[in-house]
Amino acid sequence: MKIEYTKIVKDHFYNPRNVGEIKDANGIGTVGSKTCGDVMTIYLRIEKKIIKDISFKTYGCAAAIASGSIATEIAKGMKIQDAMGLTREDIAKKLGGLPEFKMHCSNLAADAIHKAIKDYTKKLKE
């Protein structure tokens, strides 16, 4: 088994989009753990149930960084209920595929987006 990343993965890894924090983020989600390999944080600015702005930060391998980057492009402008339906497979598909053994540990973007949206809705209720 060899680690072969697609051109899209490499592009997003070498030139990640939307990296960093959003100062007035109203939904933040962090998933993964340092001890098991990868950590991803997604920052959302949600207005009228639409993701107006999104950024990410990732600690991990190329697959983890690329999936964070492409997820921000996919989710930007999405309605939050649609973003809640995003899956790991959706992200991997957009990247042109990920090595099988990278699917579990590194493909964290969908989970991080869901968590950030839940953070937003929880804050609304408070």
Binding site: I3, V19, T41, Y59, A62
Partner: protein, 386 residues
């Protein structure tokens, strides 16, 4: 800047002089060295010369050099060949074979196979630098111990084991001593007599020779049961028509390595120390392995909260070839058993990178790497949430 190769621990570029010397043995002196006609004699003579060159760098005798297909086969032949000659030990208790927990997979996996065959194997722990403790070794010896196999120098972290002391212990208890010297040959002088070594593995492609050829030194008087059967080549220890071009190549590579040691070692050491010094200036960066008891060409370090694979890929894009752990383990998920044995946690071993220099590397390349690596680390840290 042209591409920079810092992965000489994985394999080296074949030396032009070695390649030139090999070429005629493919299409001019192509006879089977076992044949009695002149074609065969030409090939057999070349093999004798190669055997002599290799024996010379080890201070061994010509007939103690057995050609194999590489380091892995040499290790397999040593461990299995010796164990099979001690078959009567199988139903006895206590440690039969003593090795270390940081050996190359060629040793570890062979030991596991032998355990399945009924042999008892003790894997000695190492200290935080990767050194085997002599007291641990002596304590592990039992009346049924017949083999000690400890690597000369570790492939991942470059730590050089106390081979002289291990040889003394082996001699004291009358136990056969094998060492996997694949990474050490031509990087440090090796005298099998002074070190009391009974068997020693060499790989050609780590010393600027061709791939697919290796050597097992077997001291005269030691019985090795063959694991490959056939025409009875190599004193009936390793059958198979001899790979004349490969053998000419490994002989030349050893000769060159020996002749150039007094130029190569100071050159590579100077470059290594400069690069280590510069890398350790990066905040939260630590050297893995021993600071001084270390192969001249090995750098292995971890950078806190940086993923080794990401670092490797970013450097590769900028033209610098490195490795995480060892070449075999980069395909598995973060599984360096060596770094684990040093006591590194998951995070630290995931953030480790190995650079292994060679005689072709230049000061200019070291300066380029010294500037680039901190920049890449900075970029990855900016992306990281931790």
């Amino acid at each position: 800047m042209e591409k920079i190769y810092f992965d000489n621990g994985a394999t080296t570029c074949i030396d032009n002089e070695v390649l030139e010397e090999m070429m005629p043995y493919y299409n001019k002196y192509y006879g089977n060295p076992s044949s009695l006609h002149s074609f065969g004699v030409d090939a057999a003579n070349a093999i004798d010369i190669s055997r002599m060159k290799i024996a010379k760098i080890l201070n061994a005798k010509q007939d103690e050099i057995i050609f194999t297909s590489g380091g892995t086969e040499s290790d397999n032949l040593a461990l299995k060949g010796i164990s099979y000659s001690f078959k009567e030990k199988i139903n006895t208790k206590d440690n039969h074979i003593i090795t270390s927990s940081i050996e190359h997979p060629a040793i570890i996996e062979t030991c596991k196979y032998l355990q399945n065959q009924g042999y008892n194997v003790k894997y000695l722990p190492v200290d935080k630098y990767g050194l085997v403790k002599i007291d641990d070794l002596e304590n592990a010896i039992t009346k049924n111990t017949f083999l000690i196999s400890i690597m000369y120098a570790n492939n991942e972290i470059g730590t050089i084991e106390p081979i002289k002391d291990i040889g003394k212990i082996a001699k004291k208890y009358g136990i056969i001593f094998h060492t996997d010297a694949v990474q050490a040959v031509c990087k440090t002088p090796i005298d099998i007599k002074k070190l009391n070594i009974d068997l020693l593995s060499i790989s050609s492609h780590k010393i600027y020779g061709p791939k697919g050829i290796g050597v097992l030194f077997v001291k005269n008087g030691i019985e090795v049961i063959p694991i490959i059967h056939g025409g009875g080549h190599e004193k009936n220890i390793r059958s198979g028509t001899l790979n004349t071009p490969g053998i000419v190549g490994i002989g030349k590579a050893c000769e060159l390595g020996q002749n150039r040691m007094n130029i190569d070692i100071p050159h590579i050491k100077k470059l290594r120390d400069k690069l280590i010094n510069n890398l350790l200036k990066i905040s939260d960066t630590y050297l893995n392995g021993h600071p001084t008891k270390r192969l001249v060409n090995n750098i292995n370090f971890h950078v806190k909260n940086i993923d080794g694979e990401s670092l490797l890929m970013m450097l590769d894009e900028k033209g610098i070839a490195t490795s995480t752990g060892s070449a075999c383990s980069s395909k598995k998920l973060y599984s360096s058993h060596v770094l684990k044995e040093l006591g590194l946690n998951q995070n630290q071993l995931q953030s480790s990178l190995r650079l292994t220099l060679g005689r072709e590397n230049s000061e200019e390349e070291i300066l380029y790497a010294s500037e680039l690596i901190p920049k890449v680390v900075k970029k990855l840290r900016q992306i990281s949430p931790i």
